[in-house]
Symmetry: C2
Subunit: 515 residues, 2 copies
């Protein structure tokens, strides 16, 4: 009998009908049973008359399954397998822990330190190889990436295949079209027929990420489209979601990002604000593993206060965390309070030099954003949009992956290691009843470990009045930019005044002194 | 017959009663008549049996006046004088122009580039001398300053005199008191009796500022008090306002700042939010010259959204401009639109190294704030809180005046000169339908002169799509930090793409090419 590890993928494939359109004509499910608990799981058509069911068991022990289908030859097929305890680097999927933090399912701490390479899986093979190599040698543990290809400035290369049967229009609209880069009547795809090879490749790359301990924050819809994938209509949208959940819910490192910049998809005949609930509910209902699920905005509150009338309601029960684009870091604490969920600033502008404001941030600003958010128990995601020259064809990390050329990723990696080394995980903000210009500070829930970040503020001397009155801490002084950490004070408490160098990007790491 | 220049001060003094309390017992007014227009103006008791009426004539020609009083010897006293046209540097008081900008009364452009030295007029003589010398050698044209002395961290020296008869309590409460540094029963001043010497000295220093072309943004109330001046009660508050308006409305360079951080005065028995209307109305009614009038906050929207329930309604008719403390620059445009008044960010944190967040900003940040606001047709005010060592007794510019030691004031001076040289005055924001991370850009109302500021954004190449389509501009490239300006492009228009150095704090100055 086959044995797999807890949280790894069980997969079984059966032969079935090949005629007609199996994607629409054939349903297959399997009931997975363990210890009297039954999990009803959708399978999918894998092409060539093959039907596959996958499942990620969350409990150890003996499991059996039995299929059901509207096709008799796929009905009542049975089997069994054993699930052994997880070992090694297998800690299970990431889940929400303590309201505003994350951990792995086995309780191991997980602090998302993400990056962004939207369409990396659809680039030429050498670029994909570079991407994986870069990820192996940097220090990110989450990547935002799309299921669909991307069409946008700097993203005009056609992929070598497509997720659906069909082809892209011979002449697509230029960037300046007012019909979001493709007219509906020009769409040349049959959205009822998937291309299994597309998804097989995606799965291979998600597994490659998992081997490196990287979560795939998988973007299910996005507006940067000239094939029609952003305007398939609700019936096709839901069929696509059922298909991808059937294929990918068994991958332990998958997160569902319902859309990137959903609020740019409200025009033309794309997906309207009111449609997202139904799409989220579809994933929530279909996913037997209940992966993390969120949706990502474009317009920034409070800057865009006039444009956020199409703000998605993150209090909806299927939303597990806030995946936001925003640059007003003080909002992190407001959202933690308002939604009682973890908050990830999944776009804080990218380190780069392209012409668009979201892609020409300084490296210092990028690093500063990570520290401010992480010191408040929120999280950030990196991106890089550095060109070597205008209109270059060099891959740009943010969309293509490839290589990193900037200065921020190193400091972000330093930060992640520093936080881990100092047990700075599952942080809650402290001392926040202060304006934006005050300290960014956070503590572990047992108050044993504290981080205090000064940003560009440069006090010559300071005290930390909001430390617990009877606690004494050892202090180390960090410079987030020069990546230095050195002993600072053997003992400080809430009454201690201390001098600081007049430098930018300083932080203090405090460790409780046990009596 | 005496002749004075338009907008200069006419003053006449009469002998009157010296017994009792002339401040409460005696009213004196004069009707100033010119060309059949009558201006009813309150006079004031100047001490030693002297009663003075002052007036700033705004029209040239022949004027006469006649007094009225509840005391017969001060009644029906008459005189006349001539008013000649203004000459030289006399451009009159600053007024609102074109809804969101300022000018002098004679139409000469005025762009406020202010600094802050709250209690400079009440420091030791050598420090006051240093302050005037510093102002002469820098490039500010407005200063925020208080009528009352200041008691606060670093501000614990008693002044050599007081604005009212009486003395300060022998033992005042320490900084940590919960009764705002003085208990009401410890107040030892008679608020019905002014000290004319206090006001004479203030007047001398306001005249000294006027000689240098510097507007005195005069703060009438503030919370940093341990004498009781912040808690005199409404009757005394209004008597004080009538007195100071009678004394100072004839000073052409005076602006009324009703309070500094009014929203910190709402506790204890200080001045409540609902009282400010009556106090503003008092000044508005009493001031025959209708000087600029505003009120200045502490709590920052939108950061402090929970604390701004005591936000003053700047749409009130007596408020001429928005005098704000804020660090969210995109709010400038929102307030311009909402209130249809000029917006001055009168506190954007100070360049410095003190322990409090509002006083340990980097010099780069201070300069960046000026550029972002001025490029959007709003205005900023400088301050410096640099200590040479903790608890030093060296005067700190922000409160005491003295000398400037920082790096921002030079760049702010450079900016003012640059804007003047390039006719960048009376600017309106352009290209603002973009997030905070986009360009900060503004144009003169005739679109002849444009400033585009990049802040810390570092595009390798860029275009300015929101330029008027049929207009062509000469472009100069500025670095706001290194204070350089050099030719950039002979001609650019809305379609031109250009490369930029990858540097922080760059700006483009565009000048329309005439056909």
């Amino acid at each position: 009998m086959e044995t797999i590890q807890q949280w790894k993928r069980f997969e079984v494939t059966f032969n079935g009908p090949i005629d007609g359109n199996p994607y629409t004509d054939v349903d297959i499910f399997a009931d997975f049973v363990n210890n009297n608990h039954t999990h009803h799981v959708r399978g999918f058509y894998a092409g060539n008359g093959k039907y596959t069911v996958r499942y990620m068991p969350q409990e150890t022990g003996h499991w059996n399954y039995k299929t059901s289908s509207n096709v008799s030859e796929l009905n009542n097929l049975q089997g069994e397998f054993n699930v052994s305890a997880a070992t090694g680097n297998n800690h299970g999927p990431v889940i929400v822990k303590n309201t505003t933090s994350f951990s792995y399912a086995d309780g191991t701490s997980y602090t998302p330190v993400g990056t962004t390479a939207y369409a990396w899986a659809w680039q030429p093979k050498d670029v994909q190889k570079d991407t994986l190599e870069t990820l192996r040698n940097t220090n990110f543990n989450k990547i935002r990436m799309t299921v669909f290809p991307k069409y946008y400035n700097y993203n005009t290369q056609e992929p070598s295949m497509y997720p659906f049967k069909g082809s892209h229009p011979q002449s697509h609209h230029p960037y300046t079209t007012d019909d979001w880069w493709i007219k509906k009547e020009d769409i040349k795809f049959d959205f009822t027929q998937f291309n299994p090879k597309w998804f097989e490749h995606l799965e291979k790359q998600i597994d490659a990420l998992d081997e490196m301990g990287i979560e795939a924050d998988l973007i299910l819809f996005h507006p940067y489209d000239h094939w029609g994938f952003a305007r398939m209509g609700m019936e096709n949208n839901k069929r696509y979601l059922k298909y991808i959940v059937a294929r990918l819910a068994s991958f332990k490192n998958v997160w569902w990002s319902m859309a990137n910049e959903y609020d740019l998809m409200d025009d033309y005949d794309q997906i309207k604000l009111g449609d997202w609930d139904e799409l989220c509910e579809t994933v929530h209902f279909e996913d037997p593993s209940q992966h993390l699920l969120s949706i990502h905005n474009y317009y920034n509150p409070p800057i865009h206060h006039l444009k956020t009338s199409n703000w998605y309601d993150y209090s909806k029960p299927w939303i597990t965390h806030i995946s936001i684009q925003n640059y007003s870091y003080y909002m992190a604490v407001q959202w933690q309070k308002e939604y009682q969920k973890p908050v990830i600033f999944d776009e804080i502008r990218y380190e780069g030099n392209i012409e668009m404001g979201w892609g020409n941030r300084s490296a210092e600003g990028e690093v500063d954003g990570f520290w401010k958010l992480m010191a408040h128990g929120a999280y950030a995601t990196h991106g890089e949009t550095l060109l070597d020259k205008p209109q270059t064809n060099r891959p740009i990390w943010w969309a293509h992956g490839g290589k990193l050329y900037g200065e921020s990723y190193k400091r972000i990696g330093f930060m992640r290691k520093l936080f881990e080394k100092n047990n700075l995980t599952d942080i809650v903000p402290i001392g926040i009843d202060t304006p934006d210009w005050e300290l960014y500070a956070g503590a572990t829930r047992d108050d044993k470990h504290i981080v205090i970040y000064f940003g560009t503020s440069q006090p010559r001397f300071e005290n930390i009045p909001f430390l617990l009155q009877d606690k004494k801490y050892k202090a180390e002084l960090v410079n987030a930019w020069s990546m230095t950490q050195k002993p600072f004070k053997d003992e400080i408490d809430s009454t201690t005044w201390f001098e600081l160098p007049r430098e930018k990007y300083q932080a203090l790491i405090l460790t409780l002194k046990e009596d």
